[in-house]
């Protein structure tokens, strides 16, 4: 295992080393010590490696990840795993706003709570949050899944496109064009698979409600102007 201590090694060197890794690398396990809230830790990784970050990170931790399995043993600042392409990012603590923003693939697991705008503009990523999420989450969410074991704040799924939202707790309010939808058998299967991928075994899919787009705002109609 390669260990890089950010207390003595510049961030630039860490990211350069991680970017040097590619398919088939024999340096498959990495440990990052003393991140101390630094921004842009382990961003733009493009290799099937494991990165364990021992402590909290600032903005954009694991941003634009491809293929890597990144575990943050602490909390994450805004935009954790933003625009992730594939692989996974696990946050052992809480995540600030914009978690998983615009993500296109891969799995983001937040074991604590996520703040506002979780999954904003998501484009294919799967996000599983053990705790609660804040307001305006899944705003303009285009594709992918957002699973929340706790509660969701105001205006969930505002202006949502084709992303699927599963919430186990209360939803304070739904945003424009977001509605509750029937949980059909295929949705139970999808949700069960997501929970399994996130390593969650102590909840049942029957405890969740599904939300998605009413598709009434897809084409502008003046009679819907009040909804905007």
């Amino acid at each position: 295992m390669r260990t890089i201590d950010l207390a003595v090694t510049p961030l630039r060197d860490l990211n350069s080393e991680l970017h040097r890794q590619s398919e088939g690398t024999n340096e498959a396990e990495w440990e990052v010590l003393n991140p101390r809230g630094q921004h842009a830790v382990a961003v733009g990784v493009d290799a099937p490696i494991k990165v364990a970050v021992r402590g909290p990170v600032g903005y954009y931790g694991g941003g634009m990840n491809k293929k890597a399995v990144i575990t943050i043993h602490g909390s994450a600042g805004p935009g954790v795993a933003e625009n992730m392409m594939s692989g996974s990012v696990v946050v052992k603590g809480d995540a600030s706003q914009y978690a998983g923003a615009t993500g296109r693939g891969g799995l983001l697991v937040i074991e604590g709570n996520a703040a506002s705008r979780c999954g904003i503009s998501m484009k294919g990523i799967d996000i599983v949050v053990r705790g609660n999420i804040g307001h305006m989450s899944a705003f303009m969410a285009q594709s992918g899944h957002l699973v929340v074991l706790g509660d969701a704040g105001d205006a969930l799924g505002d202006s949502i496109y084709e992303a699927k939202l599963f919430v186990r707790g209360n939803v304070k309010s739904l945003g424009a064009d977001c509605i509750e939808k029937e949980m059909r058998p295929e949705h139970h299967e999808q949700l069960a698979a997501l929970l399994e991928k996130a390593g969650i075994k102590d909840v049942k899919t029957s405890e969740f409600k599904r939300y998605g787009s009413a598709r009434k705002l897809y084409n502008f109609n003046i009679d819907n102007a009040d909804a905007y």
Binding site: G44, Y59, M64, M85, T102, I120, S121, Y161, Y218, I222
Partner: protein, 444 residues
């Protein structure tokens, strides 16, 4: 004998003119605002209101065809490991695949490359056509993040973080359902045929302090190689440019209200933002006040049409300009040869601006395969290159006449203004006087 009162000549209102009346009727009939492409059409103070003084007794000119007048420009010298060098100070502005056909993007890349300059992606991601044809490609990083991925970021030569644009400062992108073809839908991860209204703010940062961290992330992901631009609409250029510098930009792009858009509300285009002429001096002032003029490069866009406009923008302190609408015209947009087809669309060549409808007979602002196939990218690219060459020759002509051996040596002292408004905005004297409105008498 019978006396008749003289008839009253019908008089139309200056306030309620024909266009205004037709808009009221259109709004009453449809219940929706007008959407169109392009930039502000109203008359605003512009480069036409400025003149070069030329050389005479107090300055001597350079020989037009003998003495060198250099036009190259280097962008991104502040932080980027790999600044770009362009042969000419005229770049192609960001225009998306989606709003434009793949053929048009291809042609823009070809024309820019032939002329030795850069072209720019838009709100739809990078297409292989434009990457393939563009020697120097600027990748726009937009609020929607449609098609955004780290591979394309790394393939780009520069990254332009778009905060706003001149046609609609404070507004997001718009691409209506007619133009969301299978390919556009796939690139943007959207259902086919929907009206796409993208966000006006970035999803994962707010304000210049956050943007500074976002730029750090982009630099880390791209090994600190790429120049990073910040593009802003002409809202509050002094403060916006200062904050862009604070956020870590290598290059700032300021786009005035004549700058075009693929589609937005007419009311937005005509009533929000400042004219390009009004934006340049405050932007330059901000850079000068921070000691960053020429260290952070300034690109100006919005209504640049010819070499004189380019020369005037450079004289006011810009390092380069960007063209969008003019580039489309060079490709063949609004060509009078297509008049009969424009008539069928209820318009006329020179006025066609319903780019959002996707029915462009020139094959440029469309996703209709038959219409798009009308545009030959090789020929259109050649036309664009010719146009860029002519503009460059024009800039050189003016620079030499003012006694400068590099176009960047043009300066405000080479200019005077024809109107009080232009004098105030450009901060150059009104012609025949030493008066700069708002700036005292100035020196002789």
């Amino acid at each position: 004998m019978t006396y008749h009162n003289p008839p009253t000549t019908p008089r139309k209102s200056a306030t309620f003119d024909d266009y205004t009346l037709s808009e009221i009727r259109r709004a009453a009939a449809t219940g929706i605002y007008d959407i169109r492409g392009g930039g502000a059409k109203r008359r605003v103070p512009h480069f036409d209101d400025l003149l070069f003084l030329g050389a005479s007794m107090s300055r001597y000119p350079l020989e037009g065809y003998r003495e060198k007048c250099t036009t190259s420009v280097v962008l991104g010298t502040r932080f980027a490991k790999k600044p770009i060098e362009l042969k000419i100070p005229i770049t192609i502005a960001g225009m998306s695949f989606g709003s434009l056909s793949a053929q048009a993007k291809d042609a823009l890349g070809r024309g820019a490359t032939l002329a030795g300059t850069s072209t720019t992606t838009g709100d739809g991601g990078m297409t292989p056509e434009e990457r393939g044809q563009s020697k120097t490609l600027v990748y726009q990083y937009l609020p929607s993040r449609y098609g955004m991925n780290p591979d394309d970021l790394r393939k780009a030569d520069c990254i332009e973080v778009v905060v706003g644009q001149g046609a609609k400062p404070g507004g997001g992108g718009m691409l209506l359902g007619q133009k969301i073809s299978d390919r556009v839908a796939e690139m943007r991860t959207l259902p086919k045929g929907i009206d796409q209204r993208s966000a006006c703010r970035h999803p994962d940062w707010t304000g210049p302090d956050d943007l500074e961290i976002k730029i750090l992330e982009l630099r880390e992901i791209t090994n600190w190689e790429k120049p990073i631009y910040i593009k802003i609409g002409g809202a509050r250029p002094y403060y916006d440019v200062a904050l862009a510098v604070k956020a870590g930009a290598d290059v700032v792009v300021v786009d005035g209200m004549q700058g075009g858009t693929a589609a937005t509300q007419e009311v937005f285009i005509e009533h929000v933002g400042q004219p390009t002429l009004a934006c340049i001096r405050p932007a330059v002032q901000a850079l000068q006040d921070l000691g960053m003029h020429r260290k952070v490069q300034l690109i100006v866009s919005g209504g640049i049409r010819n070499g004189a406009d380019v020369a005037k923008a450079l004289a006011l302190g810009a390092d380069a300009v960007a063209i969008g609408t003019a580039a489309l015209v060079a490709l063949g947009d609004n060509d009078p040869a297509l008049e009969a087809e424009y008539n069928k669309l209820g318009t006329t060549a020179g006025a066609y601006d319903d780019w959002h409808e996707g029915r462009d007979p020139a094959g440029i602002t469309t996703q209709d395969p038959e219409l798009a196939a009308r545009l030959d990218p090789v020929r259109a690219g050649r036309r664009l290159a010719n146009y860029l060459k002519v503009m460059t020759l024009e800039v050189q002509t003016i620079a030499r006449a003012c006694g400068h051996n590099h176009v960047h040596n043009l300066e405000p002292e080479d200019l005077c203004a024809l109107t009080i408004e232009a004098a105030a905005m450009a901060r150059v004297p009104l012609a025949g006087t030493s008066w700069i409105p708002g700036h005292g008498q100035g020196g002789l």
